[in-house]
Symmetry: C2
Subunit: 217 residues, 2 copies
DNA sequence: AATGCGGGGATTGTATACAACAATACAAGA
DNA sequence: TCTTGTATTGTTGTATACAATCCCCGCATT
């Protein structure tokens, strides 16, 4: 379950770091990524760099033009809004399926995450809260027991990590979000698929609305 | 728009061919892909093979374990059902957005595709019909004017190409599907977002039901 | 001045060589 | 017999060398 994962392999180190930089806006859209520059930057040869770039292309984070190289695509504010809307349409499905299939052991793990969130919520640890938010949603994706749905939603959720961080760190969104998580958890405990779906859709809608209000400012 | 795209580069040739084989079930789940074997098979060096494998991993078609190699994941019947269900939740959104944003020129192109389908529908050319089905849906994804939605749905639609082929080649599904396409097209022409969404969801549901009836046999 | 045409430097594409790791088989010792 | 250590082999990870392509710039021609 833990993603100790390919943390070794230089390809993945480069991939993860570039992904992070793109998602966090360090690398702005339009930036062209020449292989040699990245080689120097990461002190690795071209092989892992090229592999990382190919992976990023499949994720839609860079665009590779044959014989010309890679440019950063990044995540625009329109992408952000689109992602929330897409999640509003589909993330309820994850909770619905999870409600039908979740085991007692899985419920325990999820409960633990929610309790940790409640523990942190008044301590202004926006990073921990964001991490736990990620874990909460990722666990539901996993417990939906659908590889494809997990893959799809995980990608979407991951893309907007940086924006969520802003949301949690700036205002009173965290307590509300955590309360909503607790409600969803209760619906899952009751195996009430309809309710879990409904609450999840509302949760996404609220998160979206909150983020929009921040951006307008 | 056309995907003349990276058809050159050996990496993409290998990627496309492996993807095709996985999607078509030529490579069954669990098959382990050793780099040297693929090198011989495609008569290329390890570099493009490795890049292809990394891309396939990001698409969720193979799983790479560090220092151990890649194994085929493939698309199970459960994945198939899941994909249709997910599309039922989200594909309507593409039509909704397309209805709001589609231009006259884009409508012409889409109309052309539907007319071609109607031309072929009684000629038992299931391959052409499948190709045109792909083009119809891909165009709507494109005209939804959302990079993320296009990316998401394009992946899902692509995954089940092989199953759709079976659907079109085996029974009276093609004429019904084409009729549904015509109805969706009309809704788009009228820029009726609600109707376009509703018809699209029904279209996916019908396609799913049809495929299920085939599999049960 | 505008256009067309090399040419050289920079960049990507591909192949290969070497290093690190994993798995297996086999032998030595308890 | 069982265990454990080790050698061997096959596979993946990384670096580098070479080939193909593109791009920019200067130059000549009109």
């Amino acid at each position: 379950m833990e993603k100790l994962y390919n943390t070794n392999s230089l390809s993945f180190q480069v991939f993860n770091e570039l992904e992070r930089q793109i998602i966090n806006g360090v690398l702005t859209p339009g930036t062209s990524l020449t292989e040699n520059r990245l080689c120097e930057q990461f002190s690795v040869s071209r092989t892992p760099v090229r592999e990382a770039l190919r992976m990023l292309e499949q994720k839609g984070l860079v665009q590779i033009t044959p014989n010309k190289g890679a440019v950063v695509l990044g995540i625009s504010e329109k992408d952000l809004t689109d992602i929330y809307t897409i999640r509003m349409y589909v993330e309820g499905l994850a909770s619905r399926w999870a409600a039908q299939k979740i085991t007692d052991e899985q419920l325990e793990r999820l409960t633990e995450v929610v309790e940790l969130q409640e523990f942190y919520q008044n301590r202004a640890c926006s990073e921990q809260i964001n991490d736990l938010d990620t874990r909460f949603h990722e666990l539901i994706y996993e417990y939906s027991d659908s590889r494809t749905l997990q893959h799809t939603l995980s990608n979407l959720h991951h893309m907007i990590q940086h924006y969520r961080q802003r949301s949690f760190s700036s205002d009173g969104r965290a307590p509300k979000a955590i309360k909503e998580h607790r409600d969803i958890l209760n619906a899952l405990i009751a195996h009430d698929a309809d309710l879990a779906e409904k609450l999840t859709v509302e949760h996404i809608a609220n998160a979206h609305a909150n983020l929009l209000s921040l951006i307008v400012k």
